[in-house]
Subunit: 338 residues, 4 copies
């Protein structure tokens, strides 16, 4: 069954809205950040990674963002251009705001933490004037990253995009993408996540992220109840992630589909989510069965946690397919299925 109809005549397969940042991952890792001496620069930010991921998989992405008016702004814009992502709606900041930075501390393959530079930050300067209906009408889907809701004026820009997506019958994907930085309180989170989730056709998030989203609506729901809540609003597909326990997609016809991670030697404990999202959305755009979308997403996630970077290591279709085939040969056909 097809849960979402994408308009084949539209130019962009997906237009994410949100942050483009820089990751600085230590070259000498498995140490504290204070001890690490050398860092490698990568493009980062969840919606940016998803755009790169989809582009590597052969899809055409647009993007709504603000970036810094400096060399790092050049860097990420050039990077997007090389990946084939449209940059016509990526504007420069005008008041010295800088690109977000994420320094990652990789203590072991399981323990990671991040030190973020997000004060007076470029991505949250996106404003309502940056969002135009025409561009959304050219997009098969709009992806809102929850972090874009953390502060004004980006918050209003994201909400305006949401209104215009509804107005132009553009499916909305809400990636909850919770980062504590920039938010003032849990109630503020509950308000804005609640508004965005209530309008979305597809929602992606972890159990903890759904709990934050539902705190002012109905706290304490199980996964099934969570899915039912959002199906009663606009959602057709509700994906709930449980880390290494796997993830489940609940569809509006009452079905659910579960997938587990593929076995892999991890280098770091992060980066998988954006691989998952881009590969899952690829399958959805291709019109695949939900279980196949999930498996494809899970495979991409595993490939990502084994690599040093995030965007830079996004795989193409063949790499994901080969990896799945390889795993299935080694471990059996059902290796990633619950």
């Amino acid at each position: 069954m097809k849960y979402i109809e994408f308009d084949a005549n539209r130019k962009f397969d997906l237009t994410p809205l949100g942050r483009i940042t820089i990751d600085l991952n230590p070259v000498d890792y498995y140490k504290t950040l204070a001890e690490s001496t050398t860092y490698r620069k990568y493009l980062g930010g969840s919606p940016a990674n998803i755009a790169v991921g989809l582009s590597r998989l052969g899809k055409k992405c647009g993007f709504f963002a603000r970036v810094s008016d400096d060399r790092f702004g050049d860097y990420v814009t050039d990077y997007f251009k090389k990946e084939g992502i449209d940059t016509s709606r990526i504007r420069r900041c005008e008041n010295g705001e800088k690109l977000g930075l994420t320094f990652t501390e990789i203590l072991s393959e399981k323990e990671s933490s991040i030190l973020m530079y997000r004060n007076k930050i470029a991505d949250l300067q996106l404003n309502v004037n940056d969002i135009d209906e025409e561009y959304i009408k050219q997009s098969k889907a709009l992806l809102i990253s929850g972090t874009a809701l953390a502060e004004s004026p980006s918050r209003e820009a994201a909400l305006k995009a949401l209104f215009l997506a509804k107005k132009t019958d553009t499916p909305v994907i809400f990636d909850i993408d919770y980062r504590a930085y920039n938010w003032q309180s849990e109630d503020e989170l509950g308000v804005y996540y609640g508004i965005a989730a209530g309008q979305a056709d597809v929602i992606l998030g972890s159990r903890e992220e759904y709990d934050l989203t539902q705190s002012l609506i109905r706290p304490g729901l199980s996964d099934g109840e969570t899915a039912a809540l959002w199906h009663s609003r606009c959602a057709k597909i509700v994906v709930i992630k449980h880390g290494k326990e796997g993830s489940t997609a609940y569809t509006c016809d009452g079905q659910s589909y579960t997938v587990k991670p593929f076995p892999i030697k991890k280098l770091k404990g992060f980066g998988g989510g954006d691989g998952y999202a881009s590969a899952f959305l690829y399958g959805l755009l291709e019109g695949w069965e939900i279980i196949d979308c999930l498996e494809f997403g899970s495979a991409s996630a595993s490939l990502l946690v084994a690599s040093h970077s995030c965007a830079d290591s996004m795989p193409d279709v063949k790499t994901v397919r080969d990896y799945i085939a390889d795993c299935k040969q080694k471990y059996g056909e059902m290796i990633a299925r619950a």
Copy 2:
């Protein structure tokens, strides 16, 4: 027909959320504000006026607000107490924010303009921690003034109250109450008015206010289409005001009811709206027919524009009834009906 069910067991008939301010109206009016020398101090602010209006009509009001921690904060709190309004959720500001001031220039009975003091203002300091579910559960209805959405943190406080009202089956009245001050852009207006109106059971506003509210949803709608739009969301009653042309209430069963202003010798061109709202809501809480609610509102509005103040001049039930009877005797039974 009864469009809204009010829970008779709840303690407060209405709990408005929003600004309590001070009006300074010139004693020597029909001059420019620069020329006027002497000003009389009144309690002001649309939701505050409505609370006073309803109290004079015998209803019990709660209130969510922040006021200044100074003599003027004392003044408005004492005023509310004398009127019998509950002040347990009216908190003092902690960072020197002051009560809003409205100096009114009354050039003639038709021409008025206002000079507002609303920088770093007390009422917009209301925050999510000021809003509790228990209080909303004790209220038969919650009234959100649109101006409370103009800035953070009041914006999130109002949206949290909206969520909790839905959670506790408390009818929501949205008084659009547009004031240009404090808003950043029309799109910002469109976003937040759109969100609030979409959740409201009763909406009150002028034609211009609905146009602002619908700008990102469907611009250019007629009155009938406007009503249909909001009926398709949550609204049971949509009241659209056209100034001296009168106003119409559209109900979710496809009916509409129109009323015109009563004849009066105006002193000033403002203040009628809050009289209208409080008297209309009084009728609604009493379970009256819609046309009777409207007539009662219209009569109160006329009484208000003939007086120097707003809150201070709010009439009791007998005064409104006598005035209506008087007008009908003089001008005929149908004087205020379209």
Copy 3:
């Protein structure tokens, strides 16, 4: 002896820099501010009052200020024009900043307190681009009000004016004029008062104000030591005020001159200081003996505390002279001399 040389060829007798505000004094006084119902509007702000005072005494004043871009900005600018004060350097604010308001609570002839509106306020928006050397070169003296140092950008504007006054050999009068509002800490006060006092030719302040000014230099000084400290910097005349005990001017040649208040029936406990300053500076500009300047200042102060307003009641030369003559006739020639 002449302590300060004023250049007779300059166009303006004095150019104050600082706030122009509005006083709202209750008509129904000897009550709390919450209880008072009606307020009379007057021009206010210490440097503005001094400019009006000097104008009434026949002197020509310039002025550096920012005022609001609204009816109240019109009011104060028109007022200045009518008094003959040059308004070419009085600019309008561009971001909605409002004129400061001072609501006065007059509880008795001795007890007064004020409620100030000074958030995002017009006068503190004065910035370095508003200050030009040419205008200062046309001024016989520059008066800096200490309140102009309370916040940026006014703080830097005042300091720039101070630098340009030194550059153009323009005597600087520093009126400490302490108002707690807008200052962050006592050390901040100590820093900026210390800088300004160290560059001033004439300093006017109360004992408490000198203590604040000297807190980071040498705390705990007596009046005589205070004078010696500032004489060792740039000051020629140091005036220390002790309220109803009188005031003393210490001159750089080691002399001191003391004056007491004239007997008067007070209406309120404030407003005398600006009368004192303007009349004292009038004498100084006229080249009078210091003791005569002080007596003239003291007489004007007494007239002011007996009246309802401040700027509006500033006396002309004849009124002050008649009042002094009258007092001397009644109470003896030495009535105001210590």
Copy 4:
């Protein structure tokens, strides 16, 4: 002749006040910053570098600063401790302010540019409560970095330290250290540099930096006139730097001493200034002749521009002496003298 008397009984040889930041220098340099992929982390910030430089030369430093409350704050504090710098007055920020970052673009040995992260930055959060008289009394000299004057509250903290240094007879060294970032206008610069320079015993700066400092006092002065201006205030030694043309120290007895750079193979065009300052101040604290201080400073500067880092490469006394001896042997005794 000894121009400055240092109190031998004080615990700290020098207490700098100002920023501690992080430099991120590309490992793959001679490329644009967008192209460089990998960065090495070093402690940075001019006053921090000077403290490390003096410590390496055997002097004991105090420090007034605010640093971030995160891993990078740990890093710089630990670094200081290892170098023997007292960290008792280095406090953590409380509102999420981050350590300044400087990404350096090294295009060639002559062309460098920097990309700074200085929005809501830790070092400018230093406030008046962080500055205590007791600590200054334990310091032989206080060094104020001009950048600490760029914004409140650090600005007032630096000015308070200046006042307390005068109060406790502590010599003040003013390192103009101009960075455009964080300053609002040239007049603001002129005001605060003018105030600090007017109170300093030793001033260090480039020709351009003195021009900024004198813009509101007397623009257009030559080097000799510049020195005379500051000698007429408090300065004993005025050092004016002309890059590769060398630098001159003007002393208050009318003498001047000039030194040129030592020949070196540069790696980058920056970093020399802090080596220069620390080695020059070392000589001054040792009571050397001015020309010997300058030569020592110049040698350290040359060593620094040949290395990848700044703080990390600060030389000890033997290294500087050996380098000078080596150069003199190769190029003649007068190699660095004008």
